[in-house]
């Protein structure tokens, strides 16, 4: 029989609670991006990847609009729980290989867009200031006019 001193029980409880809290915490806050990287920085969940939104097309660069639910916001006027629409350039490419003369300065470590994944995003608005090109928008007519341009997309 193992005797249980009340303080040991309390201590064990605190450790266990702390562990559970750590496990349950939404990955806290990732290291921030440089403050001048866009005007919005969030951790957000990619809610879906609509059919036909991402496809390989070597000769015609395009951006696709994807839908996110914001989890945390480090910069910008966005709140947890907000739904935002983000344009990703040439989304069939790993983010680290997507930048070119038409979309310089984009990047990240996400290799593919998978529904449910959480991304740490540096975003810029308005989209027109940052991107001139074909846009695949499966939410056309069903979303607010405001769309963000993804500068950096890291896995969270």
């Amino acid at each position: 029989m193992i005797s249980r001193h009340p303080s040991a029980v309390i201590g064990s409880g605190l450790v266990a609670s702390g562990f559970l809290l750590w496990m349950a915490w939404p990955f806290s806050t990732p290291p921030p991006f440089p403050a001048n990287l866009g005007n919005v920085e969030v951790v957000a969940r990619l809610t879906e990847v609509p059919t036909g939104a991402v496809f390989e097309r070597e000769l015609y660069h395009y951006a696709t609009i994807l839908k996110y639910e914001v989890i945390t916001c480090a910069r910008g006027k966005v709140l947890p729980g907000d739904i935002i629409y983000v344009a990703h350039y040439d989304p069939w490419k790993p983010r680290a290989a997507a930048a070119d003369a038409k979309a310089p300065g984009i990047g990240g470590d996400v290799r593919a867009f998978v529904a449910g994944d959480r991304h740490h995003l540096a975003l810029a608005v308005p989209l027109d200031d940052h991107y001139m090109g074909g846009l695949v928008d499966k939410y056309f007519g069903r979303r607010p006019a405001l769309a963000y341009w993804a500068l950096r997309t890291d896995a969270d």
């Binding site: 000769l59 027109d128 007519g141």
Partner: protein
Amino acid sequence: MTRGLVLCGWLTLLRAAEAAPSPEVGRLAAEVRPLGWVAFSARSPRGDWDIYAMRPDGTDVRNLTNAPETEDFYPLFSRDGRQLLYRAMPRGQTVSGNDYGRQGRPMLARANGAEAKPLGEDGALPWATWSPDGRQLLTLQPRGFAIVDLATKQVVRSFPRGGFYQQPTWSPDGRAVVGVSNGFDTGWSIARLELATQRANAVSVADCCTPDWSADGERVVFSRRRPHGGENGGYGWTELWQARPDGAEPQLVYAEAGRHLYGGHVSPDGRFVLFTGNLREDGDPAHQGAPMGLVRLADTPMIAEDADLRRAYPQAKSAPVLVLPAGHEPCWTAAEAPGLSR
């Protein structure tokens, strides 16, 4: 020996028959020959791209820029046919089928290529298109449209671009612009923007590009990608279409199997349309390009006879197509200035 000579004679005749235009094509060529000049970009014998001019039937071809140190492309006559705008970049760079309007630097010359001078540095005046009076240029860049006075180089007006992103063309009456927009459900839509109200409407939303106005401003011609089952490496092929500027009355102009039809340009008298014919998806700018062509608008809608196209367009006519030299982005003026000696 005799039979061999006869066979050679027949082969020669057959080849001659293949090469000679049909009487219908000959009539079409005769109709258009006196109607001014067409500028286009093409590879010179030296291997660089230059701006050329030819009679609309493809004869009397002459090199307007003759600049072996640069790649010259995207020629645009002012509407009075006296000035020529084009872009130039160092030799060896490849013209991009989607970005040519902002590659290299803008050049201004007399219509015959004389007195060419740069209008700015690399990337200046992107997608510049002539005002009706030839005194201003409308440009398109990420921050929006800007109207630039040619004499002072000053921006006289700017406004948001609202999703327009390439190939703008200012209307003959100066009231609107058509271009490619990402604001209408497909990434490559043809749209019209009214300059006074900045209201935009879709002209066509089926993967379209290279729009241009008819001379009276009543129609817009554009290329349109037809629905496809994955042919041409998954890209399908583009056809030449026209519609009213509000998108009404869309109609096929001309389609071929196995060739893209881009760069539609209506003749100054509104009776004919020129186009670029691309055998490759990217227009083959790294090589020779493909023959341009010309059809009579009264003969449209028309197709080059093909079983699949006939099923898609049972009412389309089979009419003559005038095959022109290899080149890109033809631009037609009724003026005689391009043919004047320098």
